[in-house]
Symmetry: C2
Subunit: 137 residues, 2 copies
């Protein structure tokens, strides 16, 4: 099935809290992750919350990378969304996991915008009992 | 299981292509979606790609909403990420589906940053055969 975009959901647990509170460091490492993924950075936006916690987005020509950090829980939620074959998310994942000192990570990759090319209308065939048969076009 | 964040993955198919190419309209409807979700907008960033397609992020105090549009495929990928109990994502979903004229949508909600609170080490109890018993702390 063809998909328009790809999306990595990255959970970084047991990170270095001091890094997760440092806006400059989080921004620099997210930008470096985008570069290592071979993405072209369009613009960035980072925001620091009180008492702590950082939200940030790196808009790339192929979509975006985002991050939200919970220093008090040593956790960061990262999303990497891209289209096209040029982006190498593995390099971004490796970089962030190392720079944030994550001791445990989870990676899930989703296809986004899946185009189902053959929509076969299905109906119950009374002769076949419970079997479903595609309707001829 | 307690989670630090919640994340809605919203797929909008068979949308109005003209809306999906209109940066001003996409930005306005994303900001209105954030307001309807009772979120506090911190800042926004929207970018138009050539020949068409829009990427945008609304940073909210509770995290973010993002969008990527493929007008030529009548598709938009939306993510709504939030923490806390105040955000009402259903209102944002309803608003965007209606404003973009989506004829088919998919909604998946994920927990992010799940904190497993009782790590019980499990061992095989030789007296109980195959039954697993938690190890006392």
């Amino acid at each position: 099935m063809r998909a328009l975009g790809r999306h990595v959901i990255l959970e970084l647990y047991e990170c270095d809290s001091e890094v997760l509170k440092d806006l400059g460091k989080v921004r620099d490492e997210m930008m470096e992750a985008a570069r290592r993924a071979q993405a072209t950075i369009v613009t960035t936006i980072f925001h620091e919350f009180s008492p702590f916690g950082i939200s940030g987005v790196v808009v790339i020509s192929a979509s975006h990378l985002s991050i939200h950090t919970w220093p008090e829980n040593r956790y960061a939620a990262v999303d990497i969304f891209w289209c096209g074959a040029d982006v190498q998310p593995q390099a971004a994942i490796d970089h962030l996991a190392q720079m944030f000192g994550a001791e445990r990570i989870s990676v899930v990759e989703l296809k986004r915008g899946v185009l189902v090319e053959n929509h076969l209308e299905m109906k119950l065939d009374p002769l076949a009992g419970h079997l479903l048969q595609p309707v001829s076009p």
